[in-house]
């Protein structure tokens, strides 16, 4: 009883969750908030942020938001400025914001590639850099959780339209995670990645409409991800329960990636 409570307790911690207003990000906010963290959400749309903060507050979770497009190069510093000005800090950084781009590789435009990498890979770098310099390294404690994807572990399904930039960005995010872990371990900061499989969301709607049955059939657990599936893993990797876990990537995909 006591062990469960202390191992996963986040009372007094503050977590910044990018793309926290819906989907996987909101699910992670719920989990961290239920275990006592104050959660700060970023997203591009003010109305969706307000709705998410209200949703979390209704669950009894302490939450606030900063409107930002993390794909912009100055966004990381600006978000941290707002957090500092509000007298808050970042103990836990969850790099969840992400975007996708379906295109065959031969037709993938360079500006689309660059935009996607800015959100999926450059933003986690800049946010980690800012959070570590301002908060985690001085405190000697920090947790970075990068939301990658099974698409960062494997190539795309051969029957589906290509997502070359997405696969490249998520593969990059996974090894970025290992490199961060190796570099910042001595500073008391852990860095880990989640690799979700397919979860119904606005991002995956098109793919799941077309290929959902095939993807489910190829998954040992025989289903897609749900609104709770990331919660336990996220908690493990940002609490004392995960104190000696760093540089790891955990697939949460019902076994789909072990084929």
């Amino acid at each position: 009883m006591t062990r469960l409570k202390t191992l996963f307790d986040l009372t007094g911690r503050t977590a910044l969750v990018t793309g926290g207003s819906r989907g996987l990000g909101l699910q992670i906010c719920e989990a961290l908030g239920e275990y006592g963290a104050h959660v700060i959400l970023t997203a591009r749309k003010a109305d969706e942020l307000a709705a998410a903060v209200a949703h979390l507050a209704a669950m009894g979770i302490s939450a606030s938001s900063v409107q930002a497009d993390v794909g912009q190069p100055d966004a990381a510093a600006q978000v941290m400025d707002v957090i500092e000005a509000e007298g808050r800090r970042v103990d836990i950084l969850v790099n969840n914001a992400g975007t996708s781009w379906g295109s065959t590789t031969e037709d993938m435009p360079l500006d689309g590639w660059n935009k996607l990498l800015a959100v999926n890979l450059t933003a986690p770098f800049l946010l980690a850099q800012q959070a570590a310099k301002r908060f985690m390294i001085p405190a000697g404690w920090g947790r970075i959780l990068n939301v990658a994807s099974v698409e960062g572990l494997l190539g795309h399904h051969p029957r589906m339209t290509g997502t070359i930039a997405y696969n490249a960005s998520k593969g990059g995010l996974i090894n970025f995670t290992r490199a961060l872990a190796a570099e910042w371990g001595a500073k008391g900061i852990t860095a880990n990645a989640l690799a979700p499989g397919y979860f119904p969301s606005r991002l995956t709607g098109y793919v799941l409409d077309k290929h959902g049955a095939d993807l489910t059939a190829d998954t040992p657990s025989g289903r897609l991800g749900n609104d709770d599936d990331l919660k336990g893993a996220a908690l493990l990797l940002v609490t004392d329960a995960g104190a000696h876990i760093t540089g790891q990537v955990l697939a949460i995909d019902g076994g789909a990636s072990i084929i």
């Binding site: 657990s221 749900n226 336990g232 893993a233 329960a241």
Partner: protein
């Protein structure tokens, strides 16, 4: 499901194999604290008495079953004894294992085979004995005890390396077969864990372990407590969509 409830094991029964080293006892206690009744399975009852008392002190039931995981009749009998006494089986922590510090050229092939018998075939037989109850219930959590040597090599550990890599991939195969029945199978892969068996050695001869600690971003070996969060996660409803995975609790050893 509220996240706060995801790690609870109330009303469940967990089987923990292996008596030596302290990890089985620590794992049993953590699972009991989360609400599970515990069956402790090992060859020597005397080694389990203290662990059983610690479980009972949490208010949960503890059952000691003497059995040899490498002996099919013995472990099958253990499964029947657990079912008879505790009524169900939700969690299997396959922790029983042995090691051998000899080189490839020095190890007696009989010792190599004996190690595979316990570490791989023992886990296989234990899974075969306990999983039918999980499949019938449509729910189960199997956690196989792995190691950084599930995925990395090391001198003087060839037999152990082979066994732990084999066990991890046995887990992936089991994940496929049991997934449709709500049973997940994962590997908890630890760095060197400081226990009562090696604590003095770690203190007096740290150079033996330096090859590991100097490559570990978090700069130290593991303690049994380091594993409890991951064990609870992989043993609980919270990990329902995680299967066939090897989760390293190693201070980043495998990331560097």
């Amino acid at each position: 499901m509220r996240a706060i409830d995801g790690f609870r094991l109330d009303g469940q029964v967990a089987v923990v194999t292996g008596g030596g080293g302290g990890l089985g006892a620590a794992g049993a206690l953590a699972l009991a604290e989360a609400g599970a009744d515990i069956a402790l399975v090992a060859r020597n009852r005397a080694k389990l008495e203290a662990a059983a008392q610690a479980v009972e002190a949490t208010g949960r039931r503890a059952l000691i079953v003497e059995a040899d995981v490498a002996d099919e009749a013995s472990i099958t009998g253990a499964a029947e004894a657990v079912k008879a006494a505790l009524g169900r089986i939700d969690i299997l922590f396959n922790n029983a294992g042995i090691t051998n510090p000899q080189t490839v050229l020095d190890i007696d092939p009989a010792d190599f085979r004996r190690l595979q018998d316990v570490n791989v075939t023992g886990a296989f037989l234990t899974i075969r004995a306990f999983v039918p109850g999980m499949i019938a219930a449509g729910y189960g959590r199997i956690v196989n005890m792995g190691s950084i040597l599930s995925a990395r090599g090391m001198a003087n550990r060839a037999a152990y390396c082979a066994s732990k890599a084999g066990l991890a991939n046995l887990g992936q195969a089991c994940a496929f077969e049991f997934g449709p029945h709500g049973v997940t199978v994962n590997t908890l892969a630890a760095t060197v864990i400081v226990t009562d068996l090696n604590r003095d050695l770690v203190r007096t001869q740290p150079e033996l372990y330096e090859a590991i600690t100097r490559r570990t971003p978090l700069g130290r070996l593991g303690e049994t407590d380091d594993l409890m969060g991951a064990l609870l996660f992989l043993s609980s409803p919270a990990s329902g969509f995680v299967t066939g995975q090897t989760l390293f609790v190693d201070g980043g050893y495998t990331a560097g």
